[in-house]
Structures are given as C-alpha cells and as structure tokens.
C-alpha cells in the first residue's frame, strides 16, 4: 500500500470558502440555499413561533386562573387556543426538528450540503409563507377559531362564515407542503449523501430517527393536505363531502385528520428521541447499547403509529369491539418506546455521567415523558377514555408527552449544539436557572390539570363557574405557567447574549462522537474540505475515522480543490455508502423565493375570492417553475474518476490513480 500512497495536496481552503460562500448584498442573503443558513433560519423562526404560542397560552392561563374571569372574550379565547395548538404543532415542533436536521444532519453524515439545496430553500420560504399567511389573519380580524383539529361541521361555511378558517386551511396546508418538501430532502440526504464508509449500520441514531420521521411525514401529511383541500372546496364552492344533510359525513374529516394527527404525535417525538441519542452518549461517553434494537424500535414506532388513529375517536359511536382493537394497538407502541428509553438508561448506567445543561434536559425528558407515557396507556383504555376524553386529564397527558418528548429534547439539543453553531457556550448559571424554572414550572402547571380532568373540567372552556372545585387547581396551574414562561425566556435571552458574547469553547467542548464535532465552530462554508472516511458508528471515538490524507483517491483530492465556483459533493450508495459520483450542487437562487411568492399570490386570490388574482398566481407558479428549471441550475453529475475502485475506500486504502 505504501508505494501507491500519495500525499494529498493541501485542500484549497480559499477556493472552497469562496465557492460555498453566499453572494453579497440583499439578493445574496435572500438567495442563500446552503443547509446551514436554511437550517438556522428554520430554528430561529420556529423558536419565535414557540415564544408566540407560549405567550398565547399565558393569556389563556390568566383567563382560566379564576372562575368567570374577563381577561378575554369567548371569541378571543377560542382564537387563543386554536392558534396556540396550531402554532405549537405546525409552526414550532415540526419546523424546529426540520431545522435541526437540516443544519446538523449533513454535518453528522459528513456531507457538504443537502443534495437538493434549492428545494431546501423553497421548504423554508414555504414555511414562512404559510406561517405569515396564518398570522396575517389578525389584521383582518379573522384569526382562526375552530380548534387545532378543526372539526366539521363547526368549521364549514355555515357555522364559521368568516375568513378565519380559510386562513387556517391555506396557511397550514402551505406549511405542510414545506414539511413534505423537507422530508423528501432529508430522505435523499440520508440515503445518498453519507460520507464514504458510513454504512447504514454505522449511521448515527439521530439520522435514523429523522429518516423514519420523514417517511412518516410522507405518509401522514398528504392526507391532511387532501382533507384541507376538501374542506376549503366545501367552504368556497359548497360541495357536500362533510355535510350529513346532503349525503356526506362529518366523521370523514375525523378519520382523515387523525390518520395524519396520530402519526403526527410520533413525528413530534422521534426526532426528539434522536436528539437524545446524540446528547446522552456524548454526556456519558458511552455508546448506546443494543443499537440494532434501538433502530428497529424507531422503525416499529413509525409503522405502528399508523394503526392508532381511532383512539382519538372512542366517543364517536364506533362499536366497542372495534375500539378494543385500537386500544390494544395503542398498548403495543409502548414496547418499542420503552426499549429506546431503556437504551438511554443503560448508557447512563454503564457510562460516566457529566452534569451539563443538555444532560439535565435529558433527565427532564425521562422524568416527564415516562409519566406522560403511562397516562397515555390509560387514555388508550377504551372505558376510561369515555370518561376522560376531551377533559383536562388529556390536556395534562399530551403536554407531558409533548413537552417531555419534544420541548425538553429540543432544549437539550439547542444547549448541546449551540457551541457548534457559534463556537461559544451560553452562560451556565442562566442555563441552570432556565432548566429548573422550566422543569418545576412545567410540573406545577400540568400536574394539577390531571385532577381538573377528574373534576369534570373539559377542554376549550373559556370560562367556568365557581363551586365546581376547580378554582384552587386552576390557580396553581396558572402560577406554574408563569414560572415556565420565565424559564423559557431566560433560555432565549441566554442564547441571544451568548451568540456574540458567550465564552469561547473551542470546536468540541463535549468530546462527542459524531462527525460535526470534528469541524471548527461555526463550521466553514464547505463543511468538510477533506471528506471523512468512516469506519465506526462513533467516528470521533475511533481513530481510523478521522479525515485521512493518506487514504485517498484521485476524486477525493479533486473534491478538496475543485474548480472555482463548482459546489462539488460526493454521492454514495444507499446501503454501504460507497462513493458513486461527484455531483455539482446548485448554489444561490432566488427562484425558490419567487415560487413561494407566486403561490402566495394564488392563495390570497383564493382566500379573498379574487379569482383573477388566483389565476395570476397560477401563471406565476408556472413561470417561476420554468425559470427554476433553466439549464444553469440543472445538477450536473459525472462519474467519479475511479468509480471502479473496489469496495470501501477506507477498507481498501484507496490510493489508486
């Protein structure tokens, strides 16, 4: 081997940096499609949505603190809970997970960018467009008020004649399209852009979690898009899909909605578990035990979650025998979830635990999510569900699951990766204050809501009378929500301050195992000048997996010093990640933005019944798609110089010219 070994030319960092940099000026800023920019935009925007949705919840808690309060009118209260749920589910959790995946997955997988960068940028603009459309409703006094699952017939034109629900349907659908686009992108990334040698068996669990989630989004979101279109057509054109009087059926909406809505719960859980699969091994210096079982459990959750949707519909009058099936299916999903949790517990048991802020949030996940999981099993029991369905017991349950399974892991991830984003650490004392306020505030807010459910308090009540025994628990719950809000605020302020003034912490403050920590913080424009060659599941803990100048091939060298302006990335095979081709990725483009604006024009036309405007939007969509597809932006693939190289370049040692 030694005779054939060539020493790699020093990577041409200047050329790589220029090639992968953004263009100057406002146009350059708008036209960026690098995954780090898009990912960070997703993260920051969704964090803003979290704060907004949280603020709405605080107003609701003020209204509900005492009986017959008059903080809001019923109109405003209905808008508050609808927007709280919609923003949290559609505009915060899913986009935040997408943002974290889009930013960190290419870094973890050893890729230079997402494989379809312009579609990636379009995904972000579609998210902003949909969220923007939804939030504009406030200027028209038509904030959606039908609840986040928008049951018909309450949401048909007959009972909700305003534009409120149209804003909701069109805005949410646009964001769904953004999620579908991002999922396709993430699946292609995971299957075709992994570093050479990173076989599926060596792929990080975080990537597995996102792969399964993306597949679920592809199966679950289109039915909701279809259902939303049916409802919008019903509202605008008077069709009868959901109208019992004309042969339709209101239950159709519930089946379509929960076919999406139940997997959605796991779509909001699996990436969180994936984040913890990065955080916990890093903080315990211990590999996850029985990795194959953990991966299998992720896949099992993804599949079984599609067999549970009826457990939101126990009270609709479906025969009891049928319900028992869905109850048992709901029980089943406990097992893979428990396997994953015990893998984390096992890593802690056999590892070296460090008390860092991300680790504390991981502990909060264990304490809170497991409780939510146990009440989840109870909620799936048919007879019990008939009593507690739509009560505050359920509100408490799903906040334990979602805060435990999504929000705490997201904060674990934000504290874990913040040093990678900025090269700085947020203030530790602020992190600890934020953690304890959030953890205690959360439990004080939601624990009493279990009891409120037993006392008969149902969801979506804008007011209640005294004498029901509810007041004391509502007072406690509202007080807790203040603590929780304060904790979140401290975190956000700590991030904002640390962005420029945090303590520098080097490239790898955690001595973590995955590839992103081999890069400088923040990562350079091109991510990897030298592509890493991976030989282990935890490449950073395995000396063989570092970027290895002596184990390289001609194409590998070429990748390190590409022709000026060519964004070159390597395409690898699906299962064993053998290099297949060098692809030139498209860079800067304003077309995704123009396409989004054209779609928005179309949607506004539909919204206000201005069909001329809608047609202008349709023409605009056509024009921008043609513009997008003009040849300059076509991906130009050519075979790798040595695609006849047998097997894994790391294994063979490469070096053939």
């Amino acid at each position: 081997m030694s005779a054939e070994t060539t020493v790699l030319h020093e990577a041409d960092y200047a050329v790589l940096d220029r090639t992968w940099d953004r263009k100057p000026g406002l146009r350059g800023w708008l036209g960026q499609c690098n995954h780090k920019t898009v990912g960070l935009r997703f993260i920051v925007t969704s964090l803003f949505m979290f704060l907004l949705a949280g603020a709405l919840a605080l107003v609701m808690r003020m209204q509900l603190a005492v009986p017959e309060a008059n903080v809001t009118t019923p109109e405003v209260f209905n808008q508050l809970f609808t927007m709280h749920g919609t923003l949290m589910m559609f505009m915060f959790v899913v986009p935040m997970f997408e943002g974290l995946a889009i930013y960190f997955l290419p870094l973890q997988l050893g890729a230079r960018d997402m494989p379809l960068p312009r579609i990636n940028a379009f995904g972000y603009w579609a998210y902003v467009g949909g969220a923007g459309l939804l939030l504009t409703s406030i200027f028209f006094g038509a904030v959606p008020d039908g609840g986040w699952y928008a049951y018909v017939p309450l949401t048909t034109a007959e009972y909700s004649p305003g534009l409120n629900l149209d804003f909701w349907l069109l805005g949410v659908t646009f964001v769904e399209i953004s999620a579908i686009v991002a999922s396709i992108e993430i699946i292609v990334l995971i299957f075709r852009s992994r570093a050479p040698g990173m076989t599926l068996a060596r792929m990080p669990i975080f990537a597995w979690a996102n792969l399964v989630t993306s597949g679920m989004i592809l199966a679950a979101f289109p039915p909701l898009v279809a259902a939303s279109l049916l409802l919008e057509v019903e509202r605008k054109l008077g069709t009868a899909f959901f109208d019992a009087a004309r042969g339709g059926d209101p239950l159709l909406w519930q089946h379509l909605f929960w076919w999406f809505g139940h997997p959605e719960v796991y779509i909001q859980l699996l990436p969180g578990l994936g984040i913890l699969a990065a955080v916990i091994p890093a903080m315990t210096r211990r590999r996850l035990p029985l990795r194959w079982l953990v991966v299998g459990s992720f896949i099992a959750i993804g599949i079984v979650s599609f067999a549970l949707w009826v457990h939101h519909m126990y009270a609709t009058g479906i025969p009891t025998q049928a319900l028992q099936f869905f109850g048992a299916a709901s029980f089943m999903i406990t097992i893979p979830t428990a396997v994953i949790i015990f893998a984390y517990v096992g890593a802690v048991w056999t590892g070296h635990v460090r008390w860092t802020v991300p680790m504390l949030f991981a502990v909060a996940f264990l304490v809170v999510f497991i409780l939510g999981g146990i009440t989840g099993v109870m909620v799936a029991v048919v007879a019990f569900n008939w009593q507690i369905h739509d009560t505050y017991f359920v509100v408490a349950h799903f906040h334990y699951v979602l805060f435990g399974g999504s929000v705490f892991p997201i904060f674990a991830g934000l504290y874990y990766w913040f040093p990678k984003l900025t090269g700085r650490q947020p203030n530790r004392a602020a992190g600890l204050w934020a953690f304890w306020l959030m953890f205690i505030g959360f439990n004080v807010t939601f624990m009493p809501q279990h009891i409120l459910g037993f006392l008969g308090m149902t969801r979506r009540l804008w007011t209640y009378e005294a004498g029901l025994g509810w007041t004391i628990w509502n007072v406690i719950s509202s007080a807790g929500s203040g603590l929780l809000g304060l904790g979140v605020l401290i975190s956000v302020v700590a991030f904002a301050v640390a962005w420029r003034r945090g303590e520098p912490c080097g490239d790898d403050p955690w001595q973590a195992s995955s590839l992103e920590w081999s890069l400088p913080s923040p990562p350079p424009n091109e991510n990897f000048a030298h592509l890493p060659v991976v030989t282990d599941q935890e490449p950073r803990w395995d000396a063989g997996s570092r970027p290895h100048p002596h184990e390289t091939t001609a194409w590998y060298q070429e990748l390190a010093s590409p022709p000026e302006g060519q964004r070159e990335a390597v395409l690898t095979t699906v299962a064993d990640a053998r290099p297949q081709a060098i692809v030139v990725l498209p860079g800067h483009s304003l077309w995704p933005l123009w396409l989004t604006l054209a779609i928005l024009v179309g949607l506004v036309g539909v919204l206000f019944d201005l069909y001329v405007v809608a047609i202008v939007g349709l023409v605009g969509i056509f024009v921008t798609l043609v513009g997008w597809l003009l040849p300059d932006s076509l991906v130009d693939a050519r075979p790798a110089a040595d695609d006849d190289a047998p097997g894994d370049p790391a294994a063979t040692g490469g070096g053939r010219r």
Binding site: A244, P250, T320, I335, I370, V381, F384, H389
Partner: protein, 344 residues
C-alpha cells in the same frame, strides 16, 4: 407539622381531587363506578411502574456519576460489554411492559364491554318494553332538546330518569358535533349530525347530576350544561304525566295579559307553548318552563330575576348564544314574567 397532620392534609387534598358536582371519581351509577374502579386499578399499576422505572433511573445516574472518566470500559468498542444493558432493555423495555399491558388488557377489555351497549343506534323504539325509558336528545347550539318517544314529552336541558333503571339515551345533533357527558353516571358520547349514537344511563339513587357538552361547538360551548334528574319510579311517572298535560287557559286576567305579550312578541318566532308557535321548533319548548330548575342551557337557576335578565339581554349572560334580546320592559315584562312563571 406532625406526620399525622401531614398525612391528613394529603388525604384531604386527594379527596378534594375526587369530589365536586362533575367529579367522575365520585360515581353514582354502575357505568361510572366501573370506570372509577378501573382508574384506581390503573393508578396503582401506573404508580408502581413509574416508581420502578424512576428507581432504575436514579440507580443508573448513581452508577454513572461514580464511574471515572478514564474507566477502560468506556473505551470498549463492543457495545454490549455490560450484561446490565441487555437486562435493562430486554426486561425493562420488552418483557416488563408486555406483561403489564397484558394484565391491563385482560382487566380493562371486559370492564369496557361491561359498560353496556354503546355506539350506533337503530332508529325507532322497537325492542323496548313499554315501561322502558328511552330519551332522544338532540344537541343544539348551545342547549339540549330532550324528548321521550312514546310518551309525548318534550323538555330542555333536563333529563328525568327513574333511579335504579337502565335508561337508553339516543343522541343526535342538528348543527355541529357536540358531546354528552354526565361524569357521575357514565362516560361521554358524541352527538353528530347524520348519526344517532346511544348511551345507557343509570343512577343508583335519586338526585341531580350535572354534565356538559364536551366537544368544542362554538362561542357558548362552555355554557352548555345538562342536568340529569333521577327520581323514584312513582315520582318519575308523575312527572311524565304532568309534562303530558297541556297548559290550562290562563285563569286570571293578569296571566292572560302576559300570554298576550308572549304571543305578540318575537318570542314565538322560536318558542312554543302547547304547540302554538313555529312549526320547526327552533328554541326550547316552553310549555312547562316553570317546572324546570334552570334556564339558558342549564346555566342559570330558573327564577324571576334570571328570567327577566335572560329575556332582555341574553348575550350578557351567555355570549354567543343564538337568542336575540327582546325589547320588552316595565309593565309588559312583568306580565310576561308572571305568565312564564305560571307554566308549571
């Protein structure tokens, strides 16, 4: 605080969590009692599981805290060096939950089936004996229309049932989806347009049981209350007989004056007394209004003051309800109230 006082305080707190007019863990019927028992079984099982898991978590962190960073086991490339991991995942992740869930399934499925027939209901009252009580409830924006097929009784927001007997409640809706829930008696079931669903209500003893609409149905959703009044059978039969009676011609001039006000005002666009009024029955039937304990969708005690306020400005009491205010004042209002209060 002494230990005994602390225990007492805890007990009081727990009990406070179980009692109240709409508390499901304070059951007064076989169905709700069955579910309350199911809850306490699950509470015991759930607490045991949570405690075991949390003990394992605490143990895990104690071990993990003690292990030094340079422990050679950490560098081991083989992920399964420690048998404790395999035990945790196999027993904690698979065997444990499978056993617990199997036991829970064996307990909960028969208890669910025992709650009784629920679900879609056939039309009509065939198959019921004459003395069986069947109640048709139509949920409307934001009140409950209550009819007794075969008995020719119609009322609102109040379901009278004989105590100790199974009563079939058949639900549907004219407008949006509502859900019917009286926590002390039974679980909830939806009232959906185009569907008829059915629920069995049984109260152990006479009493008033409060419930509400539990599916978000619009602005006044929070103020859509239902009362179930359980009575001894004889008392119930007397109530039915009373409700079947038409109102006599007003015996006094004063009441006749009130009757004139009623039929001369916009009230009759939606309400009927003895079948005089709109054919499509938009609002509650008022023939026996004064015999009901509440008005306004079950939220206000039925007294003169509330009635007057409700007639003049219903939106102040219950924002978003469909009843418009009526411009009646002074002497006319007094007469109208006298008349309405006479509708026993």
């Amino acid at each position: 605080m002494t230990r005994r006082a602390a225990a007492a305080a805890l007990l009081v707190t727990l009990l406070a969590g179980c009692a109240g007019p709409e508390a499901m863990l304070d059951p007064f019927g076989p169905s709700a009692r069955n579910t309350a028992l199911l809850w306490w079984i699950m509470f015991g099982m759930g607490t045991a599981v949570y405690v075991v898991v949390m003990v394992l978590v605490v143990l895990a962190f104690r071990r993990g805290r003690r292990r030094p960073a340079d422990d050679p086991a950490l560098a081991a490339r083989d992920e399964d060096t420690s048998p404790v991991n395999r035990r945790l995942m196999i027993f904690g992740g698979i065997v444990g939950p499978a056993l617990v869930l199997l036991v829970l399934n064996v307990i909960s499925v028969p208890m669910g089936m025992a709650v009784g027939d629920r679900g879609a209901s056939a039309e009509g009252v065939e198959g019921f004996a004459e003395e069986d009580v069947v109640v048709n409830v139509t949920a409307e924006l934001f009140w409950w229309r209550v009819e007794y097929p075969g008995r020719d009784v119609i009322t609102a927001n109040e379901i009278h049932i004989p105590a100790g007997e199974q009563v079939r409640v058949r639900l549907t809706s004219q407008d949006v989806i509502h859900s019917f829930w009286v926590p002390k008696l039974a679980g909830k079931i939806d009232a959906t347009p185009g569907h008829t669903t059915e629920l069995v209500l049984e109260a152990d003893e006479p009493g008033r049981y409060r419930g509400r609409c539990t599916e978000f149905c619009g602005l006044a959703h929070a103020q859509m209350i239902i009362h179930v009044v359980a009575q001894e059978r004889a008392e119930f039969d007397a109530w039915v007989e009373h409700q079947q009676q038409p109102q006599p011609q007003p015996p006094t001039e004063r009441l006749e004056e009130g009757r004139q006000v009623f039929f001369g005002s916009s009230c009759v666009y939606c309400h009927t007394v003895d079948g005089h009024g709109p054919p499509n029955q938009i609002g509650p039937d008022l023939t026996h209004l004064a015999s009901r304990e509440t008005i306004a969708g079950g939220i206000l005690p039925n007294n003169r003051g509330n009635l007057a306020g409700w007639i003049v400005d219903p939106q102040a009491q219950k924002p978003g309800n469909l009843m418009p205010g009526t411009q009646i004042a002074g002497e006319e209002l007094d007469a109208l109230l006298d008349y309405l209060e006479s509708l026993e």
